[in-house]
């Protein structure tokens, strides 16, 4: 009997130790796997909350996007996500552009994920041609054999017929014939809501912008004070930040940076949709919003310019429903919260001509993959051509992408991406992940992605380093 007792309690001790090792990942590395064809029997696993339920049925992704959570016991700094999937033949046949991305939640208030591509049919098709080089994890395609490798291509800066995919090229953009405005004219933008990013251009000028923010939370008394952050980027690197500016009702804030080299600067305002950016005032003459503008409380109608001809437009206030004019075409925006996808024909004689959007409405949310300005004069484009669903493949002379081609085994693809978890949100559900497949925006039973298996390897500090750091931190205090 004593032997049995020793055996049982040694077994219990061993099981507890094994569970503790799995849970605390003392060596800083742990792998979680979810196989959809072999559901968990003994435990509930680490992957959960796959949804929304109408977009993912069993293991088939029918709509876009799909979310899931990975329950992890502690913070990690890096994740390697491996996914085995099949794209239905109908989806491959019927969609000209198939792009699948995955990523982790980095901003909960704005529902923002940092995405990495796992599949792109254009790159996969191009990879079969002979003019593709894969070097340093980069995919480089050239129509004619003009350059020896991608470094030579980047050094030559021939960017007009070049396209980039998931690649940030820190080139020094200079606007030709630009001279600082000599008049005292102030560029003013009124009433935009929530987080926004925009570019300004400066040469021998100070980066001077006056902001006025208003807290329009309907439940101010019960809410905690609102906060926002402002970041300034130059060539994709943060050069200045003001984190967590707290305020109750309103905030006047001035951004003033001097002795900056000539170029395009990106300014990012991170906040939530309760915050109205009442005014943005600057003596700089060039200012363009990136990918999104949410106008609100516009009293004299609205006018915008964009370099793209495709728009996703949403009315978020019932009072603002109305018609919208894009160049010479009029479209009704007659349903609240519904996204209207509008594409207009671009003037082929002058493809660089800006698209004008106007309306008598009090505000809409405008989104596309391009830029928006409030006047033709203030528009400039410091961005590079990005590969997207509107790219005409015939026009691609060069394509540089930070992309690892998926392996194909039978009909299944296996993709692997590295995801940076520093700055990712981990709450009681764990890390939030997304699988984005915009080609599935209209739910169709025959078009789907079938997921066979997801594996996530988490890497971070080992437990001993972590404890050491904690002790050092305590002694410093």
């Amino acid at each position: 009997m004593k032997k049995l007792r020793i055996f049982l309690y040694s077994f219990l001790f061993l099981v507890t130790i094994i569970l503790a090792v799995f849970y605390f990942a003392p060596f800083g590395k742990v792998t979680y796997r979810h196989n959809f064809s072999r559901q968990y029997f003994l435990g509930k696993g680490f992957f959960h909350k796959f949804g929304p339920s109408e977009r993912i049925i069993d293991n088939k992704i029918m709509g876009d996007p799909v979310y899931f959570y990975l329950n992890s016991p502690r913070n990690f700094s890096q994740a390697k996500l491996k996914i085995k999937y099949l794209i239905s033949p109908q989806a491959l046949e019927n969609n000209k552009y198939i792009n699948i991305e995955t990523g982790v939640l980095v901003d909960k208030e704005n529902w923002q994920y940092s995405l990495s591509p796992i599949f792109n049919n254009i790159l996969s098709n191009l990879s079969e041609s002979q003019n593709v080089q894969i070097e340093d994890g980069l995919f480089f395609y050239q129509k004619n054999d003009d350059f020896k490798n991608y470094q030579e291509f980047l050094d030559n800066n021939n960017l007009s017929s070049s396209f980039f995919y998931n690649y940030n090229f820190n080139y020094n953009y200079h606007l030709p014939d630009y001279s600082p405005s000599s008049s005292d004219e102030i560029l003013t933008i009124n009433n935009i809501r929530g987080s926004h990013s925009f570019y300004v251009y400066l040469k021998d000028e100070d980066l001077k912008i006056d902001f006025s923010f208003l807290n329009e939370s309907k439940n101010k008394q019960n809410d905690s004070p609102k906060n926002l952050s402002i970041f300034v980027y130059y060539q994709d690197k943060i050069i200045f930040s003001e984190d967590n500016l707290f305020f109750d009702n309103s905030l006047e804030h001035q951004l003033n940076l001097s002795d900056l080299p000539e170029g395009a600067y990106k300014i990012e305002i991170k906040t939530n949709n309760d915050i109205l950016i009442k005014t943005i005032k600057t003596p700089l003459s060039k200012l363009v919003f990136i990918n999104k503008v949410r106008l609100d409380n516009q009293t004299a109608g609205l006018a915008l310019f964009s370099d793209k001809n495709n728009f996703r437009i949403k009315a978020l206030e019932s009072l603002c429903l109305g018609e919208i004019k894009i160049d010479d075409n009029v479209f009704p925006i007659d349903k609240i919260f519904q996204q209207f996808n509008i594409v207009i024909d671009k003037n082929n004689n002058n493809p660089k001509q800006l698209t004008k959007i106007s309306s008598d409405s009090c505000g809409f949310l405008f989104e596309n993959n391009g830029l928006f300005s409030f006047s033709e004069e203030s528009f400039f484009n410091p961005t590079l051509n990005k590969l997207d669903e509107f790219t005409n493949i015939e026009t691609i002379d060069f394509l540089l992408g930070n992309f690892k081609l998926p392996k194909k085994i039978d009909n299944y693809y296996i993709s692997e991406v590295d995801i940076n978890l520093i700055g990712a949100i981990r709450d009681k559900d764990g890390y939030g992940f997304v699988i984005s497949a915009p080609f599935l925006k209209n739910i169709d039973n025959l078009q789907y992605i079938e997921i066979k298996e997801i594996e996530i390897e988490l890497n971070g500090k080992n437990l001993f380093t972590k404890i050491k750091e904690e002790i050092n931190e305590k002694f410093k205090r």
């Binding site: 009997m1 507890t16 569970l19 849970y23 003994l42 435990g43 509930k44 680490f46």
Partner: protein, 63 residues
Amino acid sequence: MKNLKDKSIKYVQELFYFFSIAFVLFFLLEMIWPNFVLAYFNINFLLVAWILSVFYLLFNKNN
């Protein structure tokens, strides 16, 4: 025969203590660190084993 039964009762009694301790331990660990046990093991299986041992002991000890 009686000897064998006595022996089995002793073994099941030992298992009953083991299941009780394991259940309490796993329950506490799960309370302190959610998903410590449940991610890998469904405690309901342990509960069923514990109930079976209880019934076995109840019926056989009374007899």
